[in-house]
């Protein structure tokens, strides 16, 4: 299994734990990731509403940089994944627009044939390509007794054909159950975390975050497992501000699903980026899984 790897900006900084754990877990599962040489930012969400052609050209540059012998690209970040997939689909569905994007790329001596590269999310690769048996085989430290809430966020579950129900996805639920965790049927699993709303209107953003944390707590969840750097940042980084704003006492670690895979596979938590989160995960992990994890 060989994929072009697009880490995206978040994974270089605030979501470094995601990047580390993706690489560690991929190594163990035999997923070969070839990082795209000289990749650039996907433009996140804002650029699309400013200038669609420019936004697409910026993204398509990354697709054009995928080596000719590789036809699949994997992105762990939900926004990067959606942007790459959306751009490819726009170029396929609207050939005229595809030509315009390619005119932009030509300025940099590049060209992308729409549809050539299939855009995948890390979760889909592990669940669909690696599969249940291979994942279960690698588990040496089952997450038994750990109550986890799978949180998908809103971007990965857009109705792109990825074998899951966009309204009530189940893939991460299945994956975490293969690791032996107790998976909470988390009703808000596909609700929005607020995205960049924290920068515009804190009361609104905090309310969205509060709902997610409150619901997880109502279900006696030990930790929320996410798959998007934005979600992780909002739920983890703003947790203490939310507590201050509402007078709540949430203390929920927010971890990436690849970090949990790594723990179950027996990988050293340090290598998986544990400790980079603000609401620390180690105490609850050690309490529930018993003893030292290192």
């Amino acid at each position: 299994m060989k994929f072009a790897y697009y880490p995206g900006c978040s994974l270089e900084r605030n979501a470094a734990a995601y990047d580390h754990s993706v690489r560690e877990v991929s190594d163990l599962l035999g997923i070969k990731l070839q990082e795209i040489d000289d990749w650039n930012c996907c433009g996140a969400t804002e650029y699309f509403s400013q200038n669609e052609l420019a936004a697409c050209a910026v993204i398509a540059r990354n697709l054009a940089l995928v080596e000719p012998q590789t036809d699949q690209i994997v992105a762990p970040c939900a926004a990067c994944y959606l942007n790459l997939a959306k751009t490819d689909k726009l170029m396929v569905d609207h050939p005229e627009f595809g030509k315009e994007v390619n005119q932009c790329l030509a300025a940099g001596g590049l060209k992308y044939e729409p549809g050539r590269v299939t855009v995948r999310h890390m979760l889909d690769v592990i669940v669909d390509d690696v599969g249940e048996t291979a994942v279960r085989d690698k588990v040496v430290r089952p997450l038994a007794g750990l109550r986890v809430a799978p949180y998908y966020g809103c971007q990965v579950v857009r109705p792109i054909d990825n074998n899951d129900n966009p309204e009530y996805p189940m893939k991460m639920d299945h994956l975490l159950s293969w690791l032996g965790a107790e998976v909470v049927d988390y009703p808000v699993k596909a609700h929005c975390c607020g995205g960049h709303l924290t920068q515009i209107s804190e009361p609104q953003a905090f309310e969205l975050i509060r709902r997610l944390l409150q619901n997880a707590q109502d279900y006696n969840t030990d930790m929320i497992i996410c798959m998007c750097p934005m979600c992780q940042l909002n739920l983890d980084g703003y947790q203490s501000r939310v507590n201050g704003f509402f007078g709540t006492e949430f203390k929920l670690p927010i971890m990436y699903f690849t970090q949990m895979l790594g723990i179950a596979f027996g990988i050293d938590p340090q290598k998986l980026g544990f400790g980079k989160e603000l609401v620390t995960a180690m105490p609850v992990l050690e309490a529930k899984l018993g003893g030292q994890l290192v």
Binding site: N165, P187, Q214
Partner: protein, 663 residues
């Protein structure tokens, strides 16, 4: 004799003339096609004046062939063939060219359309010159009819025919007739008891001297054609001797094995392993469910056999196949409820107090598992608030795009029953309220008056994720109220999902057996959506009830009666005309290889052991042409579709290519 062909190009108002230069086509055909003596265009060729024009030409010019460029032959082939016949020309010397469905309706470029129309007219003219006069054949109609499906549509059809004095075989897959209507409590908008109006019809069918009831049976195979179908029915083993059983019910009472009833009780109640689905079942003969019976699964028990006073239990009974001869078939196979788990955001299967509409029917049915008491899953608590979610699996591009037609009214009925039986507040979340039939809108007005709350908006989700203290322990229904322009979150105790109507899982497979096709959604296709709603493209096979498309009880009954009337007409006439488009084998040159024997999908080829040749049974042949193509010696001819005619047609289509080639 020299060919004298008449060409008639129809405008069909602007339907054809809008995208084809019909005058040019007629003028061109008159000048360029050999043997054409008249070529005309006319506003509506199918009108009596248009037909008269063709008849006059036949008489005056002595036409030997007629080409009508108009609509699909499905619509007017008979019309023009009859016109020719009246003027003394054999109807099989009339050929239709489909200029409407094949050209004008699927094209917007007038020049291109005109060119294609010319090619098609040319092809028909070349073909008609080589057509032979044929005489239609007549066969007798077997007065017996097969009705498939014992729901209300099938029951109505059965009774109409049986009362008219004709024999009917009624096949039903479940142990009892009655269909979905037997599961309902009340019927909208009159609120009369469903069982009270249905069961008299059921027992009438059960006792009718002209009806042979085949319950717990499946249609396996259909052969033959209109007037003379042969059908195979598999009677599934009931493990009860039909003749000995009196239906006393002691076996069911004493059976120690309780099973959740997923069919009749929609999973809300229990039945025994030996059971009749409901007290008024017809026939009252129980069946043994071998998947759950302790004798069949573990080799122990036999209580039913011990307590049976007439020694009717027979554990060794086997499935039995019966062959029947019938003249006509009425398909009334009904529907199944949309699987509400396919909309996971509404919580069915995850959240206990989310119900499907069918579960709720059983819940408020006086004969149901709670004796009609509306309580939650704990079996005792009455809900203080109930939300009814419309359009679950209907009007939704992710599942079914169509409107199921009956759910709005059923939702109003549910609302009324909740308000009548409990103190609960009732909220209906609808997209559009659809109440178009007789006294339906009045029923809606009545519910508005009774205090049911109506929120116009498609539900986003049903969740137990509370945001506010008052939402704790409740099911929260979230929707955008499109009249207020606001998001609403209504906390309730109980949610009813109005599941849509879907075709039966095996509708397509069953349809293929008797020559029925299905619409995109999977409903059986009628011959004409407006003017021939119960006949189908297969002569002698009719459809009635929901298997043709979503409809309510009155419409199902009307269709059942309509299908029966069509069949009764066929039986009363006694004979049916069959197109003489059949295959024939040149026995002189047949080698007797028998390749055609097995290929024939209609079993219409027999083998003459004495002469060592194959022979077509004309009455069974449907003229499909399979044997014609397969015969290695090339000695089978399909009447009206022989090689000469088909090659001439191809040649005609390519007239311009031929010209270009010569140039």
């Amino acid at each position: 004799m020299a060919d004298k062909i008449g060409i008639y190009v129809c405008h069909c108002g602007s339907n054809i003339a809008g995208t084809i230069d019909v005058e040019e086509v007629a003028r061109w055909a008159g000048k360029n096609i050999e043997g054409v003596v008249v070529s005309r265009d006319y506003k509506f060729m199918c009108s009596s004046l248009g037909q008269q024009m063709i008849e006059d030409d036949i008489r005056k010019e002595g036409l030997t062939g007629v080409v009508v460029g108009a609509c699909s032959p499905h619509l007017h082939e008979k019309t023009f063939r009859n016109a020719c016949k009246r003027a003394g020309l054999n109807p099989f010397l009339c050929q239709m060219t489909n200029l409407r469905e094949h050209v004008s309706w699927v094209n917007s470029d007038k020049a291109a359309g005109t060119k294609k129309a010319k090619a098609l007219i040319f092809a028909s003219a070349e073909r008609v010159k080589r057509q032979k006069p044929l005489e239609p054949m007549e066969v007798e109609v077997n007065p017996a009819t097969l009705v498939v499906g014992g729901g209300i549509a099938g029951l109505q059809a059965t009774l109409e025919l049986a009362d008219a004095g004709y024999p009917v075989y009624l096949v039903e897959r479940e142990p009892s007739i009655g269909g979905h209507m037997a599961q309902f409590d009340k019927t909208f908008p009159t609120l009369d008891c469903s069982a009270c109006i249905l069961t008299p019809k059921m027992s009438e069918v059960g006792q009718h001297e002209n009806v042979t009831l085949l319950t717990y049976s499946e249609l396996e195979e259909v052969s033959g054609s209109v007037g003379n179908f042969k059908v195979k029915i598999r009677k599934k083993a009931r493990y009860i001797d039909y003749d000995k059983c009196t239906g006393c019910g002691i076996c069911t009472e004493k059976c120690p094995r309780k099973v959740i009833d997923d069919v009749f009780e929609a999973g809300m109640g229990y039945r025994k392993a030996i059971y009749s689905p409901f007290p008024q079942a017809v026939p009252r003969i129980p069946v043994i469910d071998t998947e759950n019976c302790t004798w069949f699964t573990r080799g122990k028990c036999q209580v039913c056999s011990k307590v049976c006073p007439t020694d009717a239990v027979d554990y060794d009974q086997k499935d039995e196949t019966v062959e029947l001869n019938v003249g006509n078939i009425i398909m009334a196979t009904g529907w199944k409820l949309f699987d509400c788990k396919r909309v996971p955001q509404y919580g069915f299967g995850r959240l206990a107090n989310v119900y499907t509409s069918m579960e709720f029917e059983r819940l408020c049915n006086a004969a149901g598992p709670t004796s009609g008491k509306i309580v939650m899953r704990d079996g005792k608590t009455e809900p203080k608030s109930v939300a009814i979610v419309h359009c679950v699996g209907s009007r939704d591009v992710t599942s079914n795009p169509y409107c199921s037609g009956v759910c709005c009214m059923a939702a109003l009925k549910f609302g009324h029953l909740v308000l009548e039986k409990t103190k609960a507040e009732v909220y209906s979340f609808y997209i559009d309220m659809r109440t178009p039939m007789k006294e339906y809108e009045e029923f809606y007005q009545r519910l508005l008056g009774e205090g049911m709350h109506f929120i116009r908006g498609k539900v986003a989700e049903v969740t137990d994720a509370a945001r506010r203290p008052e939402e704790h322990g409740k099911l929260i229904v979230q929707a955008e109220d499109t009249l207020l322009g606001k998001q609403r979150r209504i906390p309730v105790d109980m949610v009813i999902l109005m599941g849509g109507l879907e075709p039966q899982a095996d509708a397509k497979e069953l349809g293929i057996k008797c020559g029925l096709s299905c619409s995109m959604a999977g409903w059986y296709t009628e011959r004409h959506p407006k003017l021939d709603p119960v006949a189908t493209m297969t002569d002698g096979v009719f459809v009635a009830g929901v298997c043709q498309g979503p409809k309510d009880i009155p419409a199902s009954v009307a269709q059942g009666a309509a299908a029966a009337a069509r069949v009764a007409g066929m039986i009363a006439k006694g004979i049916v005309t069959i197109e003489p488009i059949v295959a024939s084998i040149d026995e002189e040159n047949c080698s007797g290889c028998r390749i055609c024997n097995d290929l024939c999908p209609f079993n219409a080829i027999e083998y003459d052991e004495e002469k060592k040749v194959s022979r077509v049974i004309t009455a069974l042949c449907k003229g499909c042409g399979t044997c014609v193509a397969a015969c290695p010696a090339g000695v089978i001819t399909g009447a009206h579709f022989n090689n000469e005619q088909i090659f001439a047609e191809i040649d005609g289509i390519l007239w311009d290519a031929r010209e270009e080639a010569t140039v």
